[in-house]
Amino acid sequence: MRTRATKTQRRKALEGFMFVSPFVVGTLAFFLYPVIFSLYISFGEYTIVKEASTFEFLGWANYLNAFVEDTTFTTIFKTVVTDSLINTPLIVVFSLIIAIFLNKNFPGRGFFRTVYFLPFLLGTGYVMSILLGMDVGEEAMNMARGILLPEGVREYLGTTFTAMVETFLGRITYVFWRSGVPIILFLSGLQNINVSLYESAKVDGATEWEMLWKITLPMVSPIMLLVIVYVVIDSFSDTGNAMVTYFFEQAFRKQDFSYSAAISWIYFAFILLFVGLIFAVMKGFIHSEQSEPRRKKVRT
């Protein structure tokens, strides 16, 4: 009996392995080898002259240089990190609000859904950088600013405050253009919330506001983690990102492959740490999927 069980288990494991076998090959050839190679050359000086490559081991020199000698790296690193730290919560909160609105049933919903997805269709590549680079985004904000903050009000409030508001608005354009996929993810999460939860809450006399905090947010929290991680990774690894262009410059323009590898590893280590931190912090807030359906059954 026992041997048979292990036999079918073994057969199942083999089948599973068959399914992922392309990925094993891919991981070895296109991922693990490049990763190890890049890590290896980051500890030295790797040069290619006419097809022949040489390598000289230097230990941590490249990593030290990044912080000691290269002032450009640290400044870019700081701005990219602070930008991401400020933008990520803004994108997450904004896209959640929009998704909650779009999830309600009202005439014209389809139109708004298309509109909010437009930047994603246009803007994942070079197009966005041209359009935003031509200050088209800022112009849009200037016009929207007129609607949100009339000129008279701005003068009344004084320059420091309006300057603050304006940097905030400038950031918001970026936030808007980045929130296509997060809105989609949140919409999908909201759709999966069981309607009976809301209905029973309504019977108990809960207001919309209470339902938002007691039902919607807890139920959407697993998606929230996914969105946060997606936004963080998206903003850190975006090809238009200043840090990422700097790696490319170091490697392909200055031919300093080792240094480029070293700083990109510092950067990657930071992202990994950051994502790990998010998981650790969010763990306490995430609503576990297992407990809720059981409680629901008891109630109804």
Binding site: L121, V127, F268, I271
Partner: protein, 324 residues
């Protein structure tokens, strides 16, 4: 007199309208203001979303005179179709469109076939090293492309694949390439949300593991597959980064990778000198031309999305992208 007769009839007409019915069904008087606020909020935000797109479309129809005439802001005096003919020529549209279409088509097909296959293995089976392997998939999502770009380039250079489309296509068969790990993750998620009962029934009826996947599991999640198709299509179409690294011949580049050329011609014109490429095309690259070029590049995606939109939204609503 006439008016007072017409008004109640008009009101009755309004009452039959969808909008009015919706209002009367859903709203008490206080709530109207809340809904109104939502509409205004959504509209203002929508305006900021649409503005760059409108700007692009409108500017692309403007002649140079209109561009510098401050009195012409939203409505150009005439439709300046030369912008489009110049942009068409500069982009080498027919050729590079076909290249882009090929790369996108191949990309979407490979993503859906290969990543679903791999994702199914992760969702349904237990085997030695599964967690480690899945960790690799996550790691490949998190890692910036540039970290491993050089070794990857060297691999493809050693295989003498650079200058062909192979570096862009072959990794995709193995679940890598453009955002491959992300698609594996998505498909795993789709299959995890699918009840196993259907597949178990198929197994009892004698289906092999591959047949169960191909005939039962994959068709069952087809609403979710549309989501991945749209995402893959948009990402592949707009991808200009890796193609411009591996394809050293300008004749082989996909459409979005041609945009930097137009932009460069535009920039050099702004600097005062007429760029060689611009004069070759026999055109002055104005902002209108640049915007026309951008519009021509994004237009195919917009058209295809318009067809897939309804299915896409259905897929979003039905598929559990998150969870677990």
């Amino acid at each position: 007199m006439k008016k007072s007769v017409a008004l109640p009839a008009r009101m009755a007409q309004l009452k039959e309208g969808k909008l009015f019915q919706w209002y009367s069904a859903n709203l008490s008087r206080g709530q109207i203001f809340v809904k109104l606020f939502i509409y205004v909020f959504l509209s203002v935000v929508a305006f900021v979303f649409v503005y760059p797109f409108l700007y692009m479309v409108i500017t692309s129809t403007k002649s140079v005179n209109d561009l510098y005439d401050l009195s012409v802001n939203w409505i150009p005096r005439s439709f300046h179709k030369e912008n489009y003919t110049y942009a068409w020529k500069m982009l080498g549209y027919p050729r590079h469109f076909l290249i882009s279409a090929f790369l996108t088509g191949a990309g979407v097909t490979l993503k859906v076939l290969c990543c679903s296959f791999i994702g199914y293995g992760f969702a349904r089976y237990k085997f030695f090293g599964k967690n480690l392997l899945f960790f690799m998939a996550i790691l490949s999502i998190i890692m910036p492309v540039q970290t491993i770009l050089l070794p990857q380039y060297l691999i493809f250079a050693n295989l003498q694949w650079t200058g062909s489309y192979l570096p862009l296509l072959v990794p995709q068969i193995f679940g890598y390439g453009l955002k491959g790990g992300l698609f594996i993750f998505l498909f795993r998620q789709f299959f995890l949300n699918l009840p196993t009962s259907l597949e178990e029934a198929a197994r009892i009826d004698g289906c092999g593991s591959f047949k169960t996947f191909w005939r039962v599991a994959l068709p069952t999640v087809r609403t979710s597959v549309v989501v991945t198709v749209v995402l893959a299509m948009v990402w592949h179409w707009n991808d200009y980064y890796e193609p411009s690294i591996y394809l050293n011949n300008a004749q082989m580049l996909p459409l979005p990778s041609m945009l930097p050329q137009v932009k460069a011609a535009y920039d050099s014109l702004f600097g005062g000198a007429i760029d060689a490429t611009a004069s070759n095309a026999g055109a002055l690259v104005s902002e209108g031309t640049l915007m026309a070029a951008i519009f021509l590049v994004v237009l195919p995606v917009l058209i295809v999305y318009a067809f897939l939109q309804k299915k896409f939204m259905q897929g979003i609503e039905r598929s559990g992208l998150g969870g677990d």
